[in-house]
Amino acid sequence: MAKVEYCGSVVDVASSVSVLDALLAHGHEIPHGCRAGACQSCLMQATQGCVPEAAQDGLKSTLKAQNYFLACRCQAATDLVVQLPQASAVRFSATVIERELLAEDVMALHLRSDAPIDYRAGQYMTLWRDERLGRSYSLASVPSLDAHLTFHVKRAPGGVMSGWIHDRLRTGETLQLQGPVGSCFYVPETADQNLLLAGTGTGLAPLYGIARDALHAGHRGDIHLFHGALDTAGLYLVDALRRLEARYSNFHYHPSVLRSPAQLPEGVQVGAIDRLISTTAPELTGWKVFLCGAPDLVAQLRKRIFLAGAHSADIYADAFFSAAPPPS
């Protein structure tokens, strides 16, 4: 049992419970999201004591050095004094330049950040509505090609953050950003390797960035991008992707839907994305793979792709975990 001090009150934390859950159980309001170590909205800083290595997984080295940690991943072995990060140290503001409806329920949000942001296409950032509410969104823009930061936000049913972005947030307004984080991005060292990019829904956002980044860097191997949606209304950026296909002979775009419409647009396939991948690219030895979108789909694809021959270290994945309720 370790003691964790926060805002002057001391909380006993059993070794099986995260610092986040212990603080929440004591009525402290700590911002949090995915509870899976991905979204980083439960970032905290230890001013005394030693945080376990696992609680710093995925943090930038500068943050690690200052004893920042993720409260949801922190099983305290020893006593700690912790605080919320000073907003100015980890967040900065950005202005909404443009809002653009890409599909019925997918909004592209173009932002200009006040300070320059060093990011890789395919990473993600936390967007904050206010002090307490933050959610992760993946970057669809490419630093060397795009002037602004672009995110694709899908309206989740009853979603507090995505609903606010779709219905309330206006052009010219500002919001806070944190990050970027994530290791799902292109590295130019392996220009001849074949790339498989696969995702559903707004999983396209990072993949669109990664594909353009790779093509712009002069990637020579084949690039296959699979985008799956429930129905044709969920397919977006179709024209832009077709233009890329026309321009680069090594780029191949494979849109697919689960539900067959009365009239199937040309080039769109019907079926589950994993089956379409197996048919088009049955053998993946030596490929590099990027998977983004719904967590169960990402987990299932990852296994299939590994069995099709891809090396486990060549499979990069961002599962779009939604904010999880605390364990009851």
């Binding site: 987990a299 990852r302 590994f306 486990s312």
Partner: protein
């Protein structure tokens, strides 16, 4: 004389072996259902620790860890036939990596030495 772990090629061999072994396990109807953890990264980390142990490498497993780690699988029906299958897949893995007969036997001996702990007997 070099230890089994050194002869097999140490950590690099474990990293290679885990790719082969885990693919075999996931494709084998006898045992794949015990490995259906959705978190593949975590599974691979676990398999690396396990392979390091059966290759006679620096391992932090205790008999107690072995028991606790497999309790839930024993409850789901894990028995001798599954351990036999795993030893078989391990042997095939080492064969593919070019290990000799006697090294494979030595690995199987280590694997069998933890059988009772794994099966919680």
């Amino acid at each position: 004389m070099a230890s089994l772990y050194e002869r097999l090629g140490g950590e690099a061999a474990v990293n290679q072996a885990v790719e082969i072994f885990y693919r075999k396990v996931l494709s084998d109807d006898r045992v794949q259902h015990f490995f259906d953890d959705v978190d593949m990264e975590r599974q691979i980390a676990k398999q690396k620790a396990f392979l390091t142990m059966v290759f006679g490498g620096p391992s932090h497993y205790s008999g107690k860890d072995m028991r606790e780690g497999h309790q839930h699988l024993v409850a789901r029906g894990l028995n001798d036939s599954h351990v036999d299958a795993i030893v078989e897949l391990l042997s095939e893995t080492l064969q593919e990596l070019g290990a000799g007969e006697s090294d494979i036997r030595e690995m199987a001996t280590i694997a069998n030495s933890v059988r009772d702990d794994v099966l919680n007997r």
